[in-house]
Amino acid sequence: MSLDPLIKFSHVEKVFPNKDGQPRQVLRDVNLSIQEKSIFGIIGHSGAGKSTLIRCINGIEKPTGGTVSFSGKLVNTLKSSKLRSLRQNIGMIFQQFNLMPSRTVFENIMLPIKYRHINRAEARQKVTRLLEMVGLPDKASAFPSELSGGQKQRVAIARALIDDPKVLLCDEATSALDPQTTQDILTLLKDLNHRLGITLIIVTHEMEVIENTCDFVAVLDHGKIIEQGNVYSVFVNPKEILTQRFIATTSRLELPQEIIDSDLLNLTGKQKLVKITYLNGKAMVPLISFISRNFNVDANIVVGDIKILQQKPLGGLVIVLDGLESDIKKALDYLGKQEIRLEVQNYDKRN
């Protein structure tokens, strides 16, 4: 990380004046470094300040404290004409696509360069190339009202790319789309990152989007970044409760209380429900057979889940340990020393 970051937030604060006299603080001491060509995710619940944060990058929102820099230039002090040329380096797509309804797909994509002295024929070719890149080669003369949600977002992506920006800001870009279309759009975005080296900044409330797409993640809660880092390390070892909750939404290791209560497991007092999460990609160690052989406990695997995140396996098991109390304790002691995260779950069975 010796490289200078492309985008840097230092102690950024944003306070909105409120009509009722009570000012509303939306961003609190935000510090972020985003490297060129990376895919950086920002996750938070609605109202956490994600949209405000991402708009500080292209100067649509002005921080009330701290600084935001882009390629070494301070964004928050730029004059409006300088800001406009900066914005040509920063594409943006939105949840509601925001295509101009009265313009065709072609005209929508051309809009950012409409007022510039450009070679018309070259621009025309570029639009055609972009339409091919986003998978809509035959839609140039269609109006937005004739397109599906996914197609509209593809047009919006093409429009954002017409200026060959260094960065693409994605503000909840998949939140209005169905799961399959979401996947398609994320695949397209990742592909653009690989092919064009464009830096992606993805704001979302869905952890799956982060999991599928991002290299880095920052968790925003009430305007504060509570946790950030490499996606794999955050997923493997989330420190904050909110981060854990977000990750739980993508994990199949979370047993619903209904299953714990049901006769399916039929837990008795001496049994232990144990959740194991593999750390550092060591998913292949035969822990279960080892503890049952050496500590004379029965290990019943209830759920197992494994997926590949950034080329490393991520997952774990939920098991029920049965046997003598002392044997279970020994097995848990052994497991506690391994490179795994061990959680002995409480199962207050409700009768």
């Binding site: 649509i60 406009r84 914005r87 939105f94 509601q96 101009m100 309804p101 313009r103 809009l111 009202s145």
Partner: protein, 226 residues
């Protein structure tokens, strides 16, 4: 056909040339006033939209002045406004009667209404689209032209239709103070000389004019809406 008209509208037939001349005057007033007022209203409406609190050129003081001015003129009933404007009308038009004397008060009377109508049409443009204009680096002037105006063309046609119809109503009112046009004819012949057929002829011609304007407006507004 002609004999039927003669039978039902004897007084109008007798004064046919005056009647058609009045219709012509109504068109003259409507066209001149609407063109001038459209330009002024468009500028004022754009001013109101861009200078409002979260507008693209936010200037709360300017907005306040514009807003209060429009409200002031909108709250004066037209018939009182005409009387109040007489000295100014004489100064500008040279006369306060006839078609020439009605243009100025008609502009002052319709422009605040027209401004509010266009303002609401411009405000219908999704704020997300305005944001796109900013995000892709357009200047405020380019946003006004390529987003606000371009995206609200169908709405502007719709509100212009509404305003034209209101304006025809106002051109009839100026007839009371000797302004000419269909209203003047209806008052002189229909009301003052108690020729009821003259009044009905005026109503019929006005219904026809309004229907045609509405039909044209609806046609273009639909055609341009995507």
């Amino acid at each position: 056909m002609i004999s039927v008209i003669e039978k039902w509208f004897p007084n109008v037939t007798m004064n046919a040339s005056i009647f058609w001349n009045s219709v012509g005057q109504t068109f003259e007033m409507t066209i001149i006033v609407s063109v001038i007022s459209f330009v002024i209203s468009l500028i004022l409406a754009i001013g109101l939209v861009v200078t409002k609190k979260d507008g693209i050129l936010s200037q709360p003081t300017v907005w306040n002045v514009l807003d209060k001015m429009v409200n002031l003129f909108r709250s004066i009933p037209f018939i009182i406004l005409i009387a109040a404007l007489i000295p100014l009308t004489r100064l500008i038009s040279g006369t306060a009667i006839g078609v020439q004397g009605t243009i100025f008060p008609l502009i002052v009377g319709i422009t605040p209404f027209f401004t509010r109508q266009i303002e609401s049409a411009l405000n219908e443009v999704d704020t997300g689209l305005i944001e796109v204009g900013q995000v892709i680096g357009l200047s405020p002037f380019q946003i006004i032209r390529s987003v606000y105006l371009k995206e609200s063309i169908p709405s502007i046609i719709r509100v212009t239709t509404i305003t034209l119809i209101s304006l025809i109503g106002l051109t009839a009112i100026v007839g009371v103070v000797g302004g000419g046009g269909i209203g003047d004819f209806a008052i002189q012949y229909g009301y003052q000389q108690n020729q009821l057929d003259a009044t009905y002829a005026c109503i019929i011609i006005l219904v026809v004019i309004v229907s045609v304007i509405q039909a044209i407006g609806t046609f273009f507004s639909r055609k341009l809406f995507h």
